[in-house]
């Protein structure tokens, strides 16, 4: 069962007089439990594709399906709801609301989802433990290191039990040690809890650890292979 599937997806930008074909006819499908990466040099369209899959942007042509539902004709609010319940996002930087503590940043999602307040702590604290964030719950993002911030971002992405987590260059701002730790963490979540991950990255460490590598160039997929164990 594919979580995400796209059919001949296109996204064209007008920049003054020129046309930029950021995504130029992409058809792919991501299955449940996959740990996949969109790889390629900058400008190849990975981030744009990720945005389209996540409903952050609308395609100029082609279609996107999430959990079997067509995203193209959804309204802005419907897309937002889809993101709230079905997708977890992790960005390169500035993931968190700076004025909320780590705990509150994660709690935020539960609040908007409508989960009753009494259930919050019992869901968040175990997750924090697992991600090694127990002592940092009350710190604000400004008081956390880059690696810690990203881990909080992971917590927030997972807490709502999404169908898929989309991560755009999550390691780009981290030093190698933190990057490796983060990737291992996400891999563990993928293996133990069957969380589906789709990355976009040009970081070799990400590509090495990924189970499926989708290479992109000039807005098209030029290679797509799953690694055998």
């Amino acid at each position: 069962m594919s979580i995400v599937s796209t059919t001949d997806l296109k996204r064209v930008y007008e920049s003054g007089a020129t046309e930029v074909k950021a995504v130029n006819g992409v058809s792919l499908s991501i299955e449940a439990g996959e740990f996949a990466v969109l790889a390629g040099p900058s400008g190849s369209g990975k981030t744009t594709l990720l945005n389209l899959i996540g409903g952050l942007d609308r395609p100029t042509d082609g279609s996107v399906h999430l959990d079997g539902e067509l995203l193209n004709d959804k309204s802005d609010d419907e897309l937002t709801r889809a993101r709230l319940f079905k997708i977890g996002f992790i960005f390169q930087a500035y993931n968190l609301v700076p004025v909320l503590s780590a705990y509150e940043n994660v709690q935020f999602i539960l609040q908007i989802q409508g989960v009753p307040d009494s259930k919050h702590e019992e869901r968040i604290m175990p997750l924090f433990e697992e991600l090694g964030l127990s002592g940092l719950a009350h710190r604000r993002p400004g008081e956390l290191s880059g690696g810690q911030q990203q881990r909080v971002a992971v917590a927030r992405a997972i807490i709502g039990h999404p169908s898929i987590i989309l991560a755009d260059e999550p390691t780009a701002n981290l030093d190698s040690e933190s990057a490796v730790a983060l990737l291992n963490l996400m891999h563990r979540l993928n293996l133990e809890q069957k969380v589906t991950f789709l990355f976009s990255s040009h970081d070799k460490k990400v590509i090495d650890i990924a189970q499926r590598v989708i290479s992109m160039r000039d807005g098209k997929i030029c290679d797509d292979h799953r690694k055998t164990q």
Partner: protein, 411 residues
Amino acid sequence: MLWLKLAWRNLWRNRTRTLVLLTVITGSLAFVAWMLNVAYGSYEKMIEDAVRMGSGHLSLHHPAYPQERLSEQFFSGKQAMPLLANRAGISKILPRLYVSALARSSRDNRAIMILGVDFENELESNPLLQPSKTISGKIPASDAQNLAYIGTRLAENLRIDVGKKLVVMFQDLSGEITSKLYRVGGIFKSGVTQLDGGTIFVNRQSLATALGNSDALHEIAILLADRKELPEHLSQLQKAYVGHKDIAVFSWETTSRQIADAIKIDSAQFKFMIFLLYVLVTIGTVNLLLMSILERTREFGLLRAIGLDRRRIGGLIFCEATLLGIIGALAGLVLTIVLSLYSWHYGLDFSNMFGEAEVAGMLVSMKVNSTWEWDWMFGLAAGMVVVVILAAIYPVKKALRAAPAEAMRHH
């Protein structure tokens, strides 16, 4: 509650900016509200002085009298007085006669207004009939039929003094020109040209007799214990006198038109200034909110990415604006109260800038005590909150226009 927490913390992300806007809101609110208290304090004084010197809070007249002011427009005291007896809330009843006459001394003539009053009755309430205003002689006793209490300018112009003769010529109620001889019993100085140069006070009974109708009255001035009760008293009295064709009830706003108008002008100028300040606050708020929001474009993109819809984000921003407005309004109210406490208790003294001023036929003192106009104060504060919230509309629209992806590309 997380929303409130978030809104509150967001406000303080940029301390300076928030403090600046708060200062503008608080400052302009306090300034306007305080000045309003001071202004109303001065109106209060003007009105109370005017009603005591003039026709009271309410007055009874012949229906055409306030417009025309003709001697022949009188009414019967015997018919009018009984209906005023035993009414709670009325502190003074002052029957009066007004006759325009030519005053003649051996040296000159003057056009004057003769006020026939009951001296003893008026002593307690009329600011002019006070020993402090008497500069020569004394206020005639209530039974002194032929003594006049005249203004100082008149005395100078006619070259007469206490004890000297004063003849007044006027048309009585039968149409005949008649003269009456008075002696000057006392001379007063009010500071108002019209009064000092053209008014004399005499015993009402004797004047009525000279007019030819001892029952005639031009005015019964009524002083109320509490001016706020005026509307009720007005309607009650209007009902009471419904059957009397010659008697009508008027409020001070009609009979002391000039004062009412002077207050109207001042008030209007004030309202104009209030309007201006509100406009400035609006523009300032829009500007500052816009800046704050534009700075957070990426963050809003992020929030939309993780699942906050436009409504919620809009709600967040409005929450911030509301908090801002409420804090500013509360601080402004507190400041207003502090300032007003001072000016209420100690009063403000402008007399070294301006001497006493003669406005609308009255002497206006330059020392003012502010009053407490609570409904205005709260109204202005609430208005300020509304203004701030409204000012957030445009910035919110701008913040939510871009698609999340575009917003995320900012920075």
